[in-house]
Symmetry: C2
Subunit: 703 residues, 2 copies
């Protein structure tokens, strides 16, 4: 037994810093271990006491007569290294360090934390913390609750990892009120040794853990996280709250945990690629967890609602439909039978309104019909308890009505209050109950995202045949020139080498040369400034498009030359333009890459300048991409219909677009030298062979 | 005393249909009146009992020896007309009819409801209901609770109107749990006589009602609602949940109340124009109400956060910033003093992290500094109670710390549980407490919308000098021709008559005529099919743009003619085109009008075809518009930056755009004959005098 095994499944626990004084952490942890009837031996350690909580107390861990698997450390921060040293000598296998004042406060804290980590390494001990809230394992074989909260942890199927100690306590309280049980809980604090990744790995095959919840503020190693999370998500859902979502939030997160702030698009991309559900609040985290821990994943997004009141049914429908769920009418046999079964019912709609007087039998009849209708994937019974109806009876009837169904059932008892008889009955029978219908709608729609993720086809990563050697040459030349970026013709050549079609142009340094270039290419053409290199061409009007005659070529050449002459930049005397074939009738897209400090290269895709810049309608994925990623990126855009054709416009060559993204991904994988790539615009044409990159820019990493 | 006065402030109440049987509505209502110690006389009426709940019972209301102000009616629906008749004879002034089975079930119910309304009219009685949950007035002078719920209503400053009886009960329960008090509650049911509008009017100057909450499923008379709500919103906030938001929701709402479904954009426009805050759930309704009933409206959107835990502070920041609030760093004196005052604090950030061990004194110190900082408009203290800290003490310190401030203070006690000592202390002292920081963020951002509404300048409605007579002629001609729509040149002429600039074209029925028209206008030109009238021109490629030469004119004419020849439509033999000046370099916008069955004409504005059609980025307001409305419509668009210029583009002539919308509004007011108007595109140009409508279409109402 070693590592996490000895921490979560110890046979003996030492509480170092146990205290006789009630209300102190050192007292409450010991108290919690005892009242939860830990199935092993517990040894209080404190030089100042001989007995604590009726148990013999030892001066140091070295004095404990038995072997110690796990030591909880609640001593002042200065004493932690010495205590860790003693634990090492004693042969303790795991530490959970509750004490705070380490990396999170900076200064001396960092030094102390490093000392403790070194001691752990020396003895092969593993450590959770420091600056954490403790751990829980509700498995009756262990029944271990080493936290200092007031709240009991119920036994259940949810594993919970919290990076915030304070939130951990608040969350356990909320879970208890909701009746949600945990398999294990880990407050990981500063993650000096054991990270969330390692605990995820530990829970991957744990049969008692069916759903994993995360509260994260930053990622230790996002690449490892991606790998583990992707594997786990295939058979058990991971739901996460990741704070520091906004710039201000990220700054605060950084200062209070000493962690680097990640780009939030990176987090979203990462979660999406490994099937982790990102929710926006702790409340939602638990609303989703309750559903997933107790009910099956629905097969689709079609929801049946049965309610004894119109209003809540409407609210549920509004919320569900807004979140992309389908609340279609009852039809066919179900409709006929519902009408017959429930007397006095006017219209049979979804939501089905049983009217105020409806008691248990109406619910039971309706539900037992609906559960057999193949047109629905989940069922929401909504009950608003009038004083005249027995709540418990309704709860029993709902349970009876849905018996045997494989559909997902989430109930709403609006205004009944948590802990009412009916609510408790349903919860005990595995049907989660919510106070507000909107919470069900949110939870169901999140679960639907997970279902769609599970349904995604799995793709391999493709390798295209490319001319890597020529790109190496271009890059080397740029580096030896001391260039910060590769732009213009060489940039387009890089694309061509990787099979990304690019509109090659002809360089011309005189009006005459420009005219003959245009005539060779055929009108219309576009003319842009070639030298000096101007990065944001359209900002300065440095491109003239849709030129249809020699006369227009000359005018464009002259006007561009004049423009450059007016600028205060070097190299303006060796002026030349690039004459390019004009690609008409396509849709302007932008393909790019940006580097995230934690996640590495992110590939970007969006439509035309203003769509990206004004509407921020853009998708990111972490490199490398497979075909599935590329499809999701495109289809997730609000502007996607512009690619598939609308109002008589033809669809663009989407397969060529996808291929270009995959080829860019390969380029990014092959060349670690670029910090940013911008293919803007890439014209997606409806005509085969006409889709082309018109301009590109590769920013070289600063060495 | 009459009308609503006699219903909410009666001196004597008859409970017709009072029952001796516990658990029945007839029993529970009487019970609630008595246990809430109604400050007047109550008379049970039931022919089958001589005493109910220790009070003498009368056979009919006519037998009651005293005068009766208010009668509650809880008899079977068939008996309601007879009971109403007796009430009329008795001189009862107001009825609250709880009984159901009327308009909401259709059929005979509609007939019965009409009968009751007629009887009320005959005797000058006013009625709330039928099919309602009752009413409440907590004013100690009356202390009237005529509902059949289990929940006591606390005295407070919130007036609540619910169109759903079942929701009314659920909501009162939720309010009680949150400690939110009501001034009056009205469940209005089928609104056969008294509507929400009338109750709003009644509460307008009620000093006990400071915030008004609405749960609505439909509007009786939206025009009256707008007028009253706009007046009230100036001095007391109205917060509403309007269900039936989605198409499916609206269908369900319609079937269960028999009400017509409104276009949801109409509801949003209406609420916006009269300052009503629309929230999306009952939970949010109460989160906002608690803040507004207890705290001032903040002066701006700048929020200071003080927390004893990093995680919750981060969650609050993320949620606030996502909702458009500002969480700027502490600066200047505040920063210096905070650093000095709170020892052990590393960085002074906003959210201010007092670290886990922080007790009351830290909160008090920090808050007493922050409350004097003019850079913040509201303060959120967040406390996550560790076992080692006394919650009540922290609550007292928070209260002490913010004493005397005029900023808005909303507290979060995460994981403390409703009803804990600390939470109760703050609530009793007028500081609302929330369990989750996200709920505070949502409430604050909603209140901020209200603040901005209050801050909006007030505009008069302008009248432009227009040529109304000529438009009347054009319309009359179209009607006498039996046309369903006015399109093409006459449509553009209508705009011109109202001072909306339009690109007038020249009609040409031969190649030659087209060429000379183009030469007269000057190249480039656009050519489109004039006859036969084709409504969606771009769908069929019926417009050729950017024509630069006589050769291109001829090609366009021929291709359009060929296109029409291939269509199966009448009138294709008398083919002609319209040659228009081409307006280059502007931004395509769409201006229009659509008619909502309840709200009447809605004016619409959005950018170009795809922005409206694919991105749905479009604004609606209810006609008539003033300058303020027009400004809000434009500035609210995601695509607004395309009008103000970006990436080197020049800003378009926004004042001309605004004026055109106002002129259209006047046209719509003057002509009730159009069901739909579409000015598409209206090119907004950066050059003065170049903004022009290029195409327009007026659909004539079916008579």
């Amino acid at each position: 037994m070693k590592g996490l095994e000895s921490i979560f499944r110890p046979k003996s626990v030492a509480v170092i810093g146990a205290s006789t004084r009630k209300g102190t952490i050192g007292h409450e942890i010991l108290h919690n271990i005892i009242i939860n009837e830990f199935n092993g031996k517990v040894f209080p350690v404190n030089p100042k006491a001989s007995v604590i909580h009726s148990i013999k107390c030892y001066s140091t861990v070295l004095d404990v007569p038995d072997a110690v698997d796990l030591a909880l450390v609640i001593v002042p921060r200065e004493a932690v290294p010495a205590v860790a040293e003693q634990c090492g000598q004693k042969g303790v296998k795991g530490l959970v360090v509750i004490s705070a004042g380490f990396k999170e406060v900076g200064g001396k804290g960092i030094k102390l934390e490093n000392e403790v980590v070194d001691i752990c390494k020396k003895y092969g001990m593993r450590m959770i913390g420091p600056n954490c809230f403790g751990i829980v394992n509700t498995d009756p074989d262990y029944s271990l609750n080493c936290t200092f909260g007031k709240t009991k942890a119920l036994q259940g199927k949810v594993g919970f990892i919290s990076q915030s100690g304070a939130l951990g306590e608040a969350i356990m309280n909320h879970a208890y009120e909701l009746g949600l049980g945990f398999s294990m809980v880990a407050s990981i604090g500063n993650k000096a040794d054991i990270s969330a990744n390692e605990i995820l790995e530990f829970w991957k095959d744990d049969p008692d853990t069916k759903v994993i919840l995360l509260y994260l503020e930053n990622f230790g190693n996002p690449r490892i996280f991606t790998k583990i999370a992707r594997e786990i998500s295939r058979h058990k859902p991971i739901v996460a709250v990741k704070s520091g979502r906004t710039r201000q939030g990220a700054i605060a997160a950084s200062s209070h945990t000493g962690a680097l702030a990640e780009l939030d698009v990176g987090v979203d991309a990462l979660f999406d690629q490994c099937g982790v559900l990102r929710v926006s609040s702790v409340e939602e985290l638990f609303d989703v967890a309750r559903a997933m821990a107790n009910q099956p994943i629905p097969k689709g997004n079609r929801v049946a609602i049965v309610s004894n009141a119109g209003g809540p049914g409407l609210l549920a429908t509004d919320a569900l439909v807004n979140l992309g769920m389908d609340v279609a009418p009852y039809t066919g046999v179900t409709k006929t039978k519902l009408k017959k079964a429930i007397s006095g019912l006017g219209n049979v709609n979804n939501p089905l309104d049983l009217v105020a007087g409806a008691g248990g039998s109406s619910f039971q009849k309706a539900l037992s019909l609906i559960k057999n209708d193949k047109n629905f994937d989940s069922i929401i019974p909504i009950f608003v308890p009038p004083v005249t109806i027995n709540q418990l009876e309704v709860a029993k009837s709902i349970h009876e009505g849905i018996k045997g169904t494989k559909k997902t059932v989430l109930a709403c008892f609006m205004g009944a209050g948590e802990g009412s008889e009916g609510v408790n009955y349903l919860k005990q029978n595995g049907i989660p109950v919510y106070i507000f219908p909107e919470a069900i709608a949110k939870a169901l729609s999140q679960i639907d995202i997970y279902r769609r993720w599970l349904d995604r086809p799995r793709y391999e990563f493709k390798a295209f045949k490319v001319n890597k050697k020529r790109v190496e040459e271009i890059v080397e030349e740029a580096i030896s020139n001391g260039d910060e970026a590769i732009v213009g013709e060489p940039a387009l050549e890089i694309l061509t080498c990787y099979g990304i079609p690019a509109a090659m142009g002809k360089i011309a340094n005189s009006e005459k040369a420009a005219v003959s270039a245009a005539e060779e290419l055929g009108f219309p053409v576009a003319i842009k400034i070639n030298t000096p290199q101007i990065l944001h061409k359209t900002d300065m009007g440095a491109v003239v498009i849709d030129i249809r005659s020699a006369k227009e070529v000359k005018a464009a050449f002259t006007s561009l030359k004049k423009k450059v002459a007016g600028l205060k930049i070097k190299g303006k005397d060796r002026f030349s333009v690039s004459v390019q074939e004009m690609i008409n009738g396509g849709v302007e897209t932008v393909i790019g890459m940006t580097t995230d400090p934690s996640f590495g290269p992110l590939i970007m895709f969006g439509l035309g300048g203003i769509y990206v810049e004004v509407l921020k309608d853009v998708a990111f994925r972490i490199n490398p991409l497979n075909e599935g990623n590329v499809t999701e990126m495109m289809e997730g855009l609000k502007t996607y219909p512009l690619l598939t054709g609308q109002r008589g416009a033809e669809a663009v060559d989407i397969s060529k677009l996808k291929e270009s993204l995959l080829r860019l991904s390969q380029l990014v994988t092959d060349f670690d030298i670029f910090s940013e790539i911008d293919i803007n615009p890439f014209i997606a044409s409806s005509i085969k062979g006409k889709s082309k990159a018109v301009d590109a820019r590769f920013i070289i990493k600063k060495s």
